[in-house]
Amino acid sequence: MGVEFEEYFKIFIKNLIIEIIDFDLRKNVSLSDRDRKEILRKVSAKLDSIIEEIMRELRKENILRPDMLKDETVSSKVREIITRVLERHF
């Protein structure tokens, strides 16, 4: 791939969170386009260190492999770690 699965996973999770937020913010009609972009810029900056922390925790569990993620229990564990770290900070 040129880029390892871990790196791909990390970039995707960050983008997924940003896209969920963007979609949610677009529903808020009272928010100007400029404010929405400002919030997303801030979100992106705040997420950098948080995503690194998520990756550290996932590495500890040794579950970041495509074959392992096919398992529902493993993918639930991954989601649990992501949300736990996010909730710890926000």
Partner: protein, 146 residues
């Protein structure tokens, strides 16, 4: 007499000099107040944006918490494997979105969850996941080129 006229400087009275000095002081303070007001407005806006960003991330965490994990992992794997096979980002994005849609449709709980989170399931796969994959591959292509 025919010579050039020379303007005579008339010294202002002390009262007028005092008034002029006060005008300058007032002008300075008005500028200072404006500058501080602008500073305050920017600070409030920055703080408000920061708080809004925190709340937005917290909402995203809640949404992720109720989204079936298998949708996300199946999407990630499908797009990754397609990219490894074809080296084509468009095909990889399509494969990821397709996998997400199929999983979403086959999992009735996922549809209920997406709806309750305020997402139309089609929007979740067709907009949120598609955009996330597009941006991811764009970033990866940039990294590979470097």
């Amino acid at each position: 007499m025919g010579g050039p006229s020379i303007p005579i400087k008339v010294r202002k009275s002390p009262r007028e000099q005092e008034k002029a000095a006060w005008r300058r002081i007032r002008g300075f303070h008005i500028d200072e107040i404006q500058r501080k007001r602008e500073q305050l407005r920017k600070k409030v806006q920055e703080r408000a944006i920061g708080i809004a960003a925190d709340i937005a991330i917290s909402i995203a965490a809640d949404i992720l918490n109720i989204t079936p994990a298998i949708i996300i992992s199946k999407t990630i794997i499908a797009a990754y494997e397609e990219y490894r096979r074809t080296k084509n980002t468009e095909k990889a994005i399509k494969a990821g979105v397709q996998e997400a849609s199929t999983t979403m449709v086959s999992d009735s709980a996922a549809t209920v969850v997406a709806n309750s989170a305020g997402f139309n399931p089609k929007d979740f796969t067709g907009i949120v996941i598609k955009n996330a994959l597009s941006k991811t591959f764009k970033e990866i292509c940039k990294q590979v080129k470097r």
